[in-house]
């Protein structure tokens, strides 16, 4: 089959992608550079810089995304490592438990957190019963609740690739390291951890990027009091409406995301060179 006949097979799909997917994005991003009757302009970006609230929301989003990602790493790495050590039946059950939330609607999961974390929820009742606090700790409608919710929803994105990478590590490598005289700590940090690092970095990056654009969980668990980029965009588009401003913010978010991704690719290539 020649190249041109191959192209004709995918051409319909390509047209669909460009018309239905890429063109609207370009139009959306272009909005920020266009003012009716006056042509090209940068004033919407100037507006962003002049009103510090926008940059503050962007910074806020990055911070929450970073914390949620770190929480994911702290929980996900030991979890994946523990799963590797299980027998084949244990592994199946553990994978099912990790993946199960995937099959439940994200709305249901997020509302479930309201039940769990609310003032009369199990967490607060347990805390009060154990005497750690007298009055309920407020987990909801603040950054803590949003971070907990996002970390939970995104955990499989980190755990699954990490677990796969850990399974690929040959036990004989670890045995070889032991026979060469390395104590368990050295084996972990010099052999095991470096071999899982690419998967950890890729999973973390995925989680971080997904956090940046998260909408449902911050909207519900934040109760409108934790401003993140996507909620800001919702306000700008559906309530005010100021599409040009929203477009400018989207562009900046896209550039930030691409920059992070490019940095990761560079690191990755350097590591595997």
């Amino acid at each position: 089959m020649t190249r041109s006949t191959g192209f004709s097979f995918i051409a319909p799909l390509l047209v669909l992608m460009v018309v239905a997917f890429n063109a609207p994005i370009v139009y959306m991003l272009g909005l920020a550079f266009w003012e009716k009757g006056r042509g090209f302009t940068l004033e919407h970006y100037e507006g962003l810089v002049e009103a510090p609230v926008y940059l503050r929301v962007l910074g806020n989003t990055m911070r929450i995304a970073l914390i949620a990602t770190l929480a994911n790493i702290v929980i996900g790495y030991p979890l994946a490592h523990w799963m590797r050590g299980l027998g084949s039946r244990g592994r199946m059950i553990a994978i099912a438990l990790v993946v199960l939330p995937f099959w439940v609607s994200i709305l249901v999961r997020t509302y479930a957190w309201i039940v769990v974390l609310g003032n009369g929820g199990i967490v607060n009742r347990a805390l009060q019963w154990s005497g750690l606090t007298d009055s309920p700790v407020s987990f909801l409608y603040n950054e803590l609740g949003v971070t907990i919710g996002m970390a939970n929803v995104l955990l499989p994105f980190l755990v699954l690739p990490l677990f796969a990478a850990m399974l690929r590590i040959d036990d004989r490598l670890l045995q070889a390291a032991a026979s060469l005289g390395a104590p368990p700590r050295t084996i972990f940090w010099k052999v095991y951890f470096p071999l899982t690092l690419p998967a950890l970095a890729a999973g973390s990056l995925l989680v971080f990027i997904l956090c940046l654009g998260f909408y449902v969980t911050p909207a519900i668990l934040g109760g409108g009091r934790v401003p993140m980029i996507s909620n800001l965009l919702d306000t700008l588009i559906n309530q005010i409406p100021r599409w040009e401003q929203a477009s400018a913010i989207s562009t900046i978010l896209l550039i930030v995301t691409l920059a992070i991704f490019a940095a990761y690719r560079r690191l990755d290539r350097k590591a595997s060179a």
């Binding site: 040959d170 045995q175 026979s179």
Partner: protein
Amino acid sequence: MSDIRLEGVTKRYGTFAAADSVDLSVTQGEFVTILGPSGSGKTTLLSLIAGLNRPTSGRIFIGGRDVTNATAQERNIGLVFQSYALFPHMTVLQNVLFPLGVRKIGGAEADRLARDALKLVRLDGFENRRPSQLSGGQQQRVALARAVVFKPDILLLDEPLGALDRKLREELQVELKQLQRTLGVTTLLVTHDQEEALSLSDRIMVLDKGRTQQIAAPTEAYLRPANRFVAEFLGIANFVSLPDGRQGVVRPERVRLAGAGQGQGQGQGQAARVVEAIYLGQMVRYHLALDDNRSVVAAVPFLGAAHAPGERISVSWESADVWPVT
């Protein structure tokens, strides 16, 4: 450099004994091969000696020290796997430096030791390559350098040449033997390849179903096998009935052939038919059928002419070449 001693070493998995009261004594600087089919327990035995596994009962001594309950880290053993087990995220040099770093040897001294070890396996100039950029034979040599760079008390080799093609394997056998002689390190090799065992070792230990069948020098084990299993596992064996009712084994190269009816003048030749003639370069191997339908294998030097399948010939052997087995 140390000796190895196993005393009644047993490893059970449930009721299955992977190693069944094995005794073995390897003297300092000796090269001993544990030979057996897959599932004979030879790798289990090696992992017990390496400390990757604990025996159910019995004791293991290295250099006179009881290491039965010592961890792998405490045993100072160089271990080479069939799969090489090189660290893929490290360069060749970093791999060889690893055991030195663990022993707090660093700087110029570690660098010198590592480069010396790489020179020993003829891999100088490959220091900064990754294992994935090397051929199988080169990777195995890196694994060897990594296993000897820290001057281990003993060297354990688990089918080290098993993954290589025949020609490379023969080359590396010679290198391995030379390396072992240069270092004078007590070496224990595990293999299912009887040729490898015969060509490399000072002594071989034949293992079957977790039990020792024979421990002897290669020629001894080949010519005077302790039992039927050893006779069959080491090369090709022809079993013949002895006058006293026992069975005896005759090796193919001891079988003499002559044209039909020619005998050897001694009248003890048996009539046989050539079933198959296989050319092996310098030798021809004949699969023969005696008149009572027993089969015999003979190996004779190829001198330009051979018997054809279907041809009738006379087969004989000296009674001194028959070794009785149980």
